[in-house]
């Protein structure tokens, strides 16, 4: 165990001393790999920020039935009976939720900057409403049910809410798939860059490698420093990429805040959390290690 540890420590020191001979080359390679990694990390950051919005919203079709503002509470609650009968006659499986005007106002005050605007109006301008969540229902039937609900007494507006949510969910899915393809392509780029950097290192150290082999060094002993160099390159590049994205979010958020204000919303992008960042660093390190592994083995096999 001690011998193993010593040899790995020696390999790490060797890797470090090789890097310190030409730090410029190493840093340049780090930058190239960081740029390659930054694109999928930026995409992932965007998706991770958009995903909570999408997942908070139900993608089940929802119909909101807004009652006329003047409808008495007793009439509003009594409407649930014919409403449920209508859904049953239409063979539709649904959850019906009665949202009073007070509940609706409270919800808006919690989540939106419209609360201040509403308070200036005096009183509660919102109507009572029924929110109907449909399951396993196709779009045509949703529309048919919506048309029927309009015929109920005291109903003011019937709104089908789920279409744009579905679009958002579909868009997120497309983005995820595109991101996956991009990530795979750029992972190959990372491996190729590290492969080439390692190849050049091995060529420049050929004399040292020959001497080490004559002195009884195993292939593992010779390969190890290059594996560490590749892993360090990957790790540093991953860190740089994460740093670049985190820094770029600041000016971006300023622009997004201005845009979101126009829609009376507050939205900003946050950097990836600790766990996803750690996973990305592990992946970039492994990619660096893969590139070095493939290069060293190929180069030294050719030399033999």
């Amino acid at each position: 165990m001690r011998v193993w540890f010593r040899q790995h420590l020696f390999a790490l020191k060797s890797a470090w001393s090789h890097l310190s001979v030409s730090p410029g080359n190493f840093l340049f390679n780090v930058l190239v790999v960081a740029i390659a990694l930054a694109l999928p990390i930026a995409g992932l950051t965007l998706i991770e920020n958009v995903r909570p919005i999408s997942s908070q919203l139900s993608i089940e079709p929802e119909i909101s039935v807004f009652l006329q503002p003047a409808t008495a509470r007793a009439d509003a609650t009594a409407l649930s009976v014919p409403l449920k009968k209508m859904l049953k006659d239409a063979n539709v499986s649904a959850r019906v939720n009665f949202v009073t005007k007070d509940k609706a106002l409270a919800a808006i005050e919690e989540t939106s900057s419209l609360a201040e605007v509403l308070s200036t109006l005096g009183g509660n301008p919102l109507p009572d409403a029924y929110v109907i969540s449909l399951s396993n229902t196709d779009a045509a039937r949703v529309d048919s049910v919506a048309q029927q609900l309009k015929t109920l007494p005291n109903v003011d507006v019937v709104q089908v809410d789920s279409a744009w949510v579905k679009r958002l969910a579909a868009l997120v899915q497309v983005l995820q798939l595109s991101l996956l393809f991009l990530a795979v392509t750029l992972a190959v780029v990372v491996i190729v860059v590290v492969f080439n950097a390692t190849r050049l290192q091995v060529i420049s150290h050929q004399a040292e490698i020959t001497v080490a082999k004559m002195l009884g060094a195993t292939n593992s002993f010779i390969h190890r420093p290059y594996y560490y160099t590749g892993a360090m390159l990957g790790l540093l590049a991953g860190s740089t990429a994460l740093g670049m994205i985190a820094l770029s979010l600041q000016p971006l958020n300023q622009a997004i805040a201005e845009f979101a204000k126009l829609y009376a919303s507050e939205f900003h992008l946050i950097p990836l959390g600790l766990l996803p960042s750690a996973a990305l660093l592990a992946i970039s390190t492994i990619l660096g290690l893969c590139g070095a592994f493939l290069s060293v083995r190929r180069q030294l096999a050719r030399a033999n």
Binding site: A207, E208, T210, K213, M214, L215, G216, F221
Partner: protein
């Protein structure tokens, strides 16, 4: 200890480095491989170290057939040997001491042990005061003695030296050969190739090669 049975090495059609060589080297001998350039001396040494494989015949070291050794086993063979081959220059980016420590680092020795043994090896070749110098600051003879120190630091059973006195003046050449003779006196088998025949009287046995064939072999009366 070292045996060659009908060993030939063919590089391409009709280009032989060694032809049907058979010899036996006992432990503790000081062997000189003599002959002109291209006689096959270096190839013979490289075969013992497993750097070259015979095209036919067998080379065995302590009963182990080198030709059949897997690539993964060769490092462990070489750790028992002290090699001073022409391709094995000192590494110029590290000190003399670090160069001599390298064989021990490769085997996983601790830093302290490697340093102690390296200093002892440098003392044996009278270069203890040059431990922290860079190789390029040393003369040719001193560099060769450092190479010897590196070769013996692992306490090998066999030392193989390929033209260790090449490009050295008489005085330095004598120092190098004296160092090797001292190790042989301690029981280490030394096989030295050289086309410089002025040192043949220092060997216990001389094997003369020409065109890949052993043409003569004799025991040195003076060394005996």
């Amino acid at each position: 200890m070292i045996e060659f049975h009908n060993v030939s090495k063919e590089y391409s059609r009709d280009v032989y480095a060694l032809r049907d060589v058979s010899l036996s080297i006992a432990p503790g001998e000081l062997i000189f491989l003599a002959g002109p350039s291209g006689a096959g001396k270096s190839t013979l040494l490289k075969m013992i170290a497993g750097v070259e494989r015979p095209s036919s015949g067998t080379v065995s070291v302590n009963g182990q057939d080198i030709g059949k050794l897997k690539a993964g086993s060769l490092p462990y063979l070489r750790r028992k040997l002290g090699l001073i081959l022409q391709e094995q220059k000192l590494l110029l980016d590290r000190s003399v001491l670090a160069n001599v420590m390298l064989p021990l680092v490769v085997t996983g020795a601790s830093g302290a042990e490697a340093e102690n043994r390296a200093r002892t090896a440098l003392e044996k070749v009278s270069l203890a005061d040059k431990a922290h110098a860079l190789p390029q600051a040393l003369s040719g003879g001193e560099q060769q003695r450092v190479a010897i120190a590196r070769a013996i630091v692992n306490r090998p059973q066999i030392i193989l030296a390929d033209e260790p006195t090449a490009f050295l003046d008489r005085d330095n050449a004598n120092k190098v050969l004296s160092a090797l003779k001292a190790f042989q006196s301690a029981g280490v088998t030394c096989i030295i190739s050289s086309h410089d025949e002025q040192f043949l009287d220092k060997a216990s046995r001389v094997i003369y090669l020409s065109n890949g064939v052993i043409t003569d072999s004799w025991h040195s009366a003076i060394a005996a």
